[in-house]
């Protein structure tokens, strides 16, 4: 079982975890990313390249399933305008082995947070906004990986 959704809507974590628990493994690992507030941030605006996002996230999920003995993988990534405290990303993995579930979950979220084709714009309470710049090392890795 593997499923990827790139969507504007929030999601139901309990339902996602229940589906992973039903995969028959001994363990389910998950990571939920949340928009962090602070420094006057009022919203995070996420843009993406739909056709490429789906293809690339699908490929990285296949990579994870080849590297670890997984029974289930679920990735949900939101786009659009999100307020601090809102969920932005969810990765859940199910395996017979807790190490496989935990490591693959970390692998997927690391990839998503650094290499997934998203662009972020921060909006602040003073009305200003700025595009988040890619960290040099993330950009270098993304190019190295994908060329």
């Amino acid at each position: 079982m593997s499923r990827v959704s790139i969507q504007a809507e929030d999601f139901d974590i309990a339902a996602e975890l229940a589906a992973l628990e039903a995969c028959g493994g001994g363990g389910v690992a998950s990571f939920t990313g949340i928009v962090r507030g602070g420094e006057g941030l009022t919203a995070l605006e996420l843009h993406h390249y739909p056709a490429m996002t789906m293809a690339q996230v699908g490929r990285i999920v296949e990579d994870a399933m080849a590297r670890w003995p997984l029974l289930g993988v679920r990735v949900i990534h939101r786009y659009g305008r999100l307020a601090p405290g809102e969920r932005i990303v969810f990765v859940g993995t199910a395996s017979r082995h807790r190490t496989a579930a935990l490591e693959s979950c970390a692998f997927l979220i690391d990839w998503l947070k650094s290499h997934a084709p998203f662009w972020k714009k921060e909006h602040f309470s003073d009305g200003s906004a700025r595009w988040v710049e890619a960290r040099v090392e993330d950009d270098a890795k993304a190019r190295g990986w994908l060329e």
């Binding site: 990313g33 843009h47 993406h48 990303v89 662009w119 595009w131 890619a134 950009d139």
Partner: protein
């Protein structure tokens, strides 16, 4: 000659003021960098968005490629800043 669809993302899109356009397919052997240089001469928004290719990344038919890649028979070119992840 078939058209080439160009997609713009993030601040490239904002500066140009459109998310997508169709252009005439450039002549055989043209690289992405060469097309970008030509588009940058179109005027204000284009110059601002495309004037510094160091800041740009590209994808041909949904695959990341270096800017010196020849466009060839690709149907879709995307131009954008480095991705910042989710």
């Amino acid at each position: 000659m078939a058209a080439l669809t160009i997609l713009y993302f993030a601040w490239v899109r904002e500066a140009i003021g459109r998310d997508e356009e169709k252009v005439e397919r450039p002549e055989t052997g043209t690289s992405i960098a060469e097309l970008i240089a030509k588009l940058a001469t179109r005027g204000d928004g284009y110059a601002q968005a495309l004037g510094d290719p160091e800041k740009l990344r590209a994808a041909l038919d949904q695959k990341f490629v270096p800017l010196d890649t020849i466009i060839g028979e690709a149907k879709e070119l995307a131009i954008f800043p480095p991705v910042t992840g989710g």
